[in-house]
């Protein structure tokens, strides 16, 4: 019996454990296993191997509701169905509200994907580097906590992840948005080019408009073929999962790569309940898992633990990892874990039309748009609000369907070929200020079906956010007007709540000082160095870029540091 236990424990012992197999966990798995560490990936959701995408080849007419969500689904999932990507073709990759309840102290739209690959199957693939101004922002503007690293620390790791993931983009030479290792860029449309030119002229280069940078294989390299991926076919059906591996997902890229090393073991349906801390060794020694289906409890052991459950789940796991050394959660000596939750403000949009280029249209499909990097307060404070915003910009031209009449007349009209004006639009992505008053914490009594405390979420927008959104509406209106656009309308997105950005960050943030942060410059818990947090939870601030590329780079950097320390015997 004793021997059996030892054997069984041996089988459950690895060099490293990664919790979560989404964008960040996939990168941890790849780097750790590639460097020779026996790595266990624990994923709470179902198994989705690359290719397990049931709707991916379906034609539009094959969906029984032509893409529309059923009333039953909507009523049962008031939160998940708010996500624009939740549709008849993709609902199976979203967490359903009732299965995973949480408590909203303030309205928070928590959008989740629990499966192999996490939300990497669903994301919109926008990928921009941060600049030095972004890392320096919190110090310049007097935020409570400042970044312990700068652009120079992360730049080589941005390159590392860009080359492997495959990022398409144009080398624009902007200080505010550094260039990366780009594959061929997508093309701007006539009106997007026109807007770029007009803005260059009117603002003397201070408001560049560029083609979006995104994780698509526009020009696959040998490293991508080695992953089993092929050129993006420009279907723009990405939320279904891509059979070509045309965009970056953990499923198509990092997970199969990690598996190929022979060093990675993946266990699905494994809900990590908490991290086990050994009071004598003064280290984390493993994790406690609840099997999602059998509800059985199992322990796994490793010398290195990467926590990549996505921001809120990572906070839950650490807060729930209580020991006599850490009664308030692992590493939480300062009591600030779970605080400083921040997000991107997407609360407003603008639209318009352009009556030029009427002899032109676009052809084909582009899974991307143009992008306006942040132009407010980049190098110095210029406005009555702190920080700034990035914006999307897209201009497209559709055939309009003439729906007049009935019977044969209507039928004839439906076959008319006619184009409307060019339609233009922008969305807003505002930086928010990390604040101690925006937090997540564990409920003291309510638990989920696996015995994990439910989370209480308290995140609110503030006056700075409102002023910034107003500035977006004013500035974009001015820019659209200067470009000659008409029918310009700004919109408030009624019912938009924090969380719906799906860029929630913070709670376990990086910083130099253990008094006000949880993680050091290598993403190690200050007080438990063999635990690394490299998903959104680690972010000291949020800047205006889509965050996932930065999670990837931070993860790769931290994982390589972990391997070095492991080999030196320091962990």
């Amino acid at each position: 019996m004793a021997n059996f236990n030892i054997d069984s424990k041996k089988k459950r012992t690895f060099d490293a454990i990664a919790i979560g197999s989404g964008i960040s966990g996939g990168w941890a798995a790849k780097e750790l296993s590639e460097k020779g560490l026996k790595t266990l990936v624990l994923e709470r959701g179902k198994e989705v191997n690359h290719g397990d995408y049931p709707t991916t080849m379906m034609q539009p007419w094959e969906f029984e509701h032509l893409g529309q969500i059923t009333k039953e689904m909507k009523d049962a999932n008031p939160i998940a169905t708010k996500c624009y990507a939740f549709g008849e073709d993709s609902s199976h990759f979203f967490v359903k509200d009732a299965e995973h309840p949480y408590i909203q102290e303030k309205p928070f739209d928590w959008i989740r994907g629990y499966q192999s690959g996490g939300k990497s199957l669903l994301w919109a693939r926008g990928t921009q580097r941060w600049s030095k101004y972004d890392f320096e922002g919190p110090a310049r503007d007097g935020f409570d906590v400042h970044w312990p690293i700068g652009y120079e620390d992360l730049a080589p790791w941005y390159s590392h992840v860009e080359i492997f993931a495959g990022i398409s983009g144009n080398k624009d030479g902007l200080e505010s948005l550094p260039d990366g290792e780009f594959l061929k860029p997508h093309e701007q449309t006539c009106v997007e080019k026109h807007f770029t030119d007009q803005m260059r002229k009117h603002y003397n280069g201070a408001r560049p408009v560029i083609i979006g940078r995104c994780a698509h294989l526009t020009d696959p390299q040998p490293i991508h073929y080695q992953q089993g991926r092929a050129k993006c076919q420009q279907r723009d059906l990405c939320q279904r999962g891509c059979p070509y591996g045309g965009y970056f997902s953990s499923n198509a890229s990092t997970l199969p790569w990690a598996k190929m090393t022979g060093n990675m073991t993946m266990r699905n349906n494994s809900v990590v309940h908490s991290i086990i801390y050994d009071e004598k060794k003064q280290k984390a020694i493993g994790v406690k898992v609840i099997d999602a289906i059998t509800k059985q409890e199992i322990e796994y052991f490793a010398r290195i633990i990467f926590v990549n459950g996505s921001t809120v789940n990572t906070n839950i796991i650490l807060l729930n990892s209580k020991s006599s050394r850490f009664p308030n959660g692992l590493g939480n000596d300062n009591g600030l874990m779970g605080k400083y939750i921040h997000f991107h403000n997407f609360e407003t949009t603008i639209s318009g039309e352009y009556e030029g280029f009427l002899d032109k249209k676009t052809d084909g499909i582009r899974p991307n748009g143009s992008y306006i990097p942040r132009f407010r307060n980049v190098k110095k404070q210029e406005t009555d609000f702190l920080r700034g915003y990035a914006s999307g910009f897209s201009a497209s031209r559709m055939e309009v369907t003439n729906r007049e009449g009935w019977g044969e007349e209507l039928k004839k009209n439906l076959f008319e070929k006619k184009y409307g004006n060019w339609r233009v639009g922008s969305h807003f992505m505002g930086e928010t200020i990390p604040k101690i008053s925006n937090y997540v914490k564990l409920d003291e009594t309510l638990k989920d079906q696996w015995g994990v405390p439910q989370v209480r979420i308290h995140v609110e927008m503030d006056g700075n956010d409102a002023k910034m959104a107003k500035d977006f509406r004013e500035q974009l209106t001015e820019m659209y007007t200067l470009a000659g656009f008409t029918n310009i309308k700004t919109h408030s997105r009624n019912g938009w709540n924090p969380g719906l950005d799906i860029h929630e960050m913070g709670g376990v943030i990086m910083g130099n000082d253990p008094k006000n942060s949880q993680l050091n410059e290598w993403n190690q818990l200050h007080h438990c160095k063999n635990v690394f947090v490299t998903d959104g939870a680690c972010m000291t601030s949020n800047s205006t870029q889509n965050p996932s590329l930065t999670y990837m780079a931070l993860t790769a950097r931290a994982a390589n540091h972990a391997v070095e320390e492991f080999k030196k015997g320091n962990l």
Partner: protein, 162 residues
């Protein structure tokens, strides 16, 4: 690993959908065909008179009536559903009064007259029209013959002459 080889051997990475995991199975069954339609004759007449068969397929041959019934049942509120029921009743009543025939037995012109001139239920009639157009313009016939629809164009040109 196996899957990777499959992808490789197909070159372009197009996977068959033969062996999906069990959670995905409901996407394999042709559930569309198996539903029962209480009002299918009535809806068939409605979509047929809105977009009739000519020398090209009309709304009925692309299955718009099945779509209408299904989408109304599955995707709309009870309020809208009861308005639909009421409208169907009214159309039927009017058909009987005017032509002493059930609505579904009318010829298309007669049916269309009743539909178009039904001011009491204009909102619902317009809703039928919109759904019929939606179904028709999403059909394989319309998209491939009229829209030059390609699922995977593999290119994008931002500025071409019309």
């Amino acid at each position: 690993m196996e899957r990777r080889n499959v992808i490789k051997s197909l070159g372009i990475g197009l996977l068959g959908l033969g062996n999906l995991p069990s959670w995905a199975n409901n996407w394999n069954s042709g559930s569309f065909e198996h539903f029962e339609f209480e009002n299918s004759e009535m809806f068939a007449k409605i979509v047929d008179c809105i977009i009739p068969e000519t020398n090209t397929p009309g709304a009925k041959s692309v299955g718009a009536h099945k779509y209408l019934e299904k989408v109304i049942k599955d995707c709309y509120s009870e309020q809208i559903q009861s308005e639909v029921k009421q409208t169907l009743k009214n159309l039927e009543k009017e058909a009987m009064v005017k032509h002493q025939k059930s609505f579904e037995k009318l010829d298309n012109l007669q049916a269309l007259e009743i539909l178009k001139n039904n001011t009491a239920n204009k909102k619902t009639v317009d809703f039928f029209k919109n759904l019929t157009i939606r179904s028709y313009t999403s059909s394989e016939y319309y998209l491939t013959n009229h829209k030059n629809y390609q699922m995977a164009p593999a290119y994008f040109h931002g500025c071409v002459a019309i």
